[in-house]
């Protein structure tokens, strides 16, 4: 017996004047899922999240969040969700604790309950020793952590995170992801996050890849990557134009190009590698790895990061 999905989106779209930011999104996210909404900047991720969190009216379609319609019951939806924005929402002149107390008040928590939750949240995000420090003195990573703490204080059924790792250094990004995975492991919260760092989304239970306001692929990261093949062979050369046709000839598949790297996806690299070895005599380097979510994106959209769409 399936429970009510955390999020059901049907034909959701949004225009800004003539600009079609989100075309039509259909999606279902099960309760308790760690869901990644992926795509390049400008694909419509933030607009979608703003519609789901009742900050923007959809131009068409609708969605149910925690079982409630975002058009009919925005207040009810807001009661059940937490939102962490791209940019911090913290008041830099207040201390960590004061910021969190501001928030518990908004959700009508009692003084006692509020104190307990604030202790818990500060503890979970490793900020207990900074509770009386002004947020202005916090590093980017600490601010983001506090923002996350703020987002879960009222124990939302669904936590929306818009680019939670944007602008953080790799160590801080890993820390934030650690928090998110810990949060997800507790099992009671559905996480819906957007990121344009596609490779980050591997820990997600399910992802949807969005491009130009439409979902172009969805599923769990492992099977999406598996769809390309088990192995990825990279041929790095300073003459990609000449080498590309030969790679195609030798392997029988069209290589993906990213600058001077040519990648082919195969089920098993072992029999293919010897075929490519002659290229090494011409200065090419050959490496074997596994496909990434970014490869999936490139494969589906036919263009690499930042490339113009074909045609």
């Amino acid at each position: 017996m399936a429970s009510v999905p955390a999020i059901e989106i049907a034909g959701l779209g949004r225009d800004y004047g003539r600009l079609r930011a989100v075309d039509a999104v259909d999606l279902e996210v099960g309760a308790g899922t760690f869901f990644g909404f992926l795509g390049p900047n400008g694909a419509g991720k933030t607009t979608t999240i703003r519609m789901l969190t009742t900050l923007l009216h959809p131009s068409r379609g609708t969605a149910r969040v925690a079982g409630l319609d975002i058009r009919d019951d925005p207040l009810g939806v807001r009661r059940r969700i937490g939102v962490v924005f791209q940019e911090t929402t913290l008041d830099l002149d207040l201390t960590a604790e004061e910021n969190l107390r501001f928030c518990t008040r908004l959700y009508g928590l009692s003084r006692r309950e509020s104190a307990i939750r604030i202790d818990e949240a500060l503890d979970l995000f490793g900020l207990s020793d900074r509770r009386h420090a002004r947020v202005r003195s916090f590093s980017g990573g600490m601010r983001r952590a506090l923002d996350l703490a703020r987002g879960i204080l009222h124990r939302p059924a669904i936590l929306f995170l818009d680019e939670p790792t944007l602008g953080l250094d790799p160590a801080q990004r890993r820390r934030i992801w650690g928090f998110l995975q810990a949060l997800c492991a507790q099992g009671s919260t559905t996480l819906f996050l957007t990121t344009h760092y596609l490779e980050e989304a591997d820990p997600c239970d399910a992802v949807a890849i969005v491009d130009h306001g439409r979902i172009v692929a969805s599923g769990d990261p492992a099977s999406l990557k598996r769809g390309l093949g088990r192995d990825r062979i990279d041929v790095t050369t300073d003459r990609p134009d000449e080498v590309a046709p030969r790679v195609r000839e030798l392997t029988g598949t069209e290589p993906q190009r990213a600058a001077n790297r040519l990648s082919v996806f195969v089920e098993d690299a072992d029999p293919v590698l010897p075929l490519l070895l002659p290229l090494t005599h011409e200065g090419a380097e050959i490496g074997v790895s596994h496909p990434t979510l970014e490869d999936v994106f490139v494969d589906i959209t036919g263009r690499g990061r930042g490339e113009e769409p074909a045609g």
Binding site: R78, R105, L106, G306
Partner: protein
């Protein structure tokens, strides 16, 4: 709902208490006016009867404090909405109009506090109001603060960004101050200015403060323009109408969403491209370029606001 209002007011009070510079500036301005303008005018304006020009000016300066502090608080809502903690409110289960009311209350409260800090000037300038007159004055300050805050909230509800902040200062706040009864009785201003003076809620707020302070004393050419009843009526009406409008406009979620998206960004394309480049994604097409969130916009606007 009360929790939300309390949360906002508490936050503003904590901030106020920590921003010593803001308090200093808001208190220094009227003192400067009192010393420089007050002293100069006192020589020029022959006053009849027992009211000196400085005594006449004092309620005008209280009006100035109310005007600047409430307007700045209200307009800070715009900044808050774009970058700050108001977003916590926007995604909390709090109806939009409650946010307006909460902001209105905190802006008014801060304005009142700053006026009360300047209350000792009453005695320094040689006035000696009775306890009941002081209470009336306090009521007048409160009503004036709420009315002027509602003007600020109405403007804030329609403003998209704080870019034109200087414009607001120059084309709204200074005219509001000069075209009021702050410096001279409204009746003394020339006819073509009268409509502006009469349309200005600050005129009535200052007039209302003058009644308890100077009321009994004034027999001469410096004095109050309207009756207490009329002042109260105008201020209450202004507050109700403007606050209702601000609630309605602020409650328009779509407008809010656009404000949040900072649409239309100033130099949309370049900023988006720059922002995207910094993060490793170049815009895939013209379309994605123009809808890309532009954190650069945030940063530059944030710097503007810091000044």
């Amino acid at each position: 709902m009360i929790g939300a209002v309390a949360a906002v007011v508490t936050r503003e009070l904590i901030r106020f208490q920590r921003q010593r510079g803001r308090l200093f500036a808001s208190l220094a301005r009227p003192l400067l006016w009192l010393i420089v303008i007050g002293a100069g005018f006192e020589k020029l304006v022959p006053t009849e009867g027992t009211v000196s020009y400085k005594q006449f000016l004092l309620p005008g300066l209280y009006g100035m404090v109310i005007l600047f502090s409430t307007m700045l608080s209200a307009l800070a809502t715009v900044h808050d909405r774009e970058f700050g903690p108001i977003r916590m409110l926007l995604v909390a289960p709090v109806p939009r109009w409650v946010i307006v009311i909460a902001k209105l209350i905190s802006a008014s409260l801060l304005g009142m506090i700053q006026v009360v800090i300047l209350f000792p000037l009453i005695w320094i300038l040689g006035l000696d109001p009775s306890a009941s007159a002081l209470l009336e004055l306090l009521g007048a300050v409160a009503l004036g603060a709420v009315a002027i805050s509602s003007v600020g909230m109405l403007i804030a509800s329609r403003m998209r960004s704080i870019e034109n902040f200087a414009g607001i200062m120059n084309f709204l706040m200074f005219p509001m101050f000069f075209l009021s009864s702050a410096l001279y009785p409204a009746a003394l201003l020339p006819g073509f200015l009268q409509p502006f003076v009469r349309a200005n809620p600050l005129t009535y707020a200052i007039d209302l403060m003058r009644h308890p302070l100077l009321g009994g004393l004034y027999p001469g050419n410096l004095g109050t323009d309207y009756t207490v009843k009329f002042d109260v009526l105008v201020l209450v009406l202004v507050t109700i109408i403007l606050t209702t409008l601000a609630c309605l406009l602020f409650g328009e979620e779509d407008h809010l969403g656009r404000v949040l998206l900072n649409e239309p960004p100033r130099t949309k394309r370049t900023l988006a491209a720059a922002g995207a480049r910094a993060r490793g994604w170049r815009p895939g097409s013209a379309r994605s370029a123009s809808s890309a969130p532009a954190p650069i916009t945030e940063k530059s606007a944030g710097e503007t606001s810091a000044g």
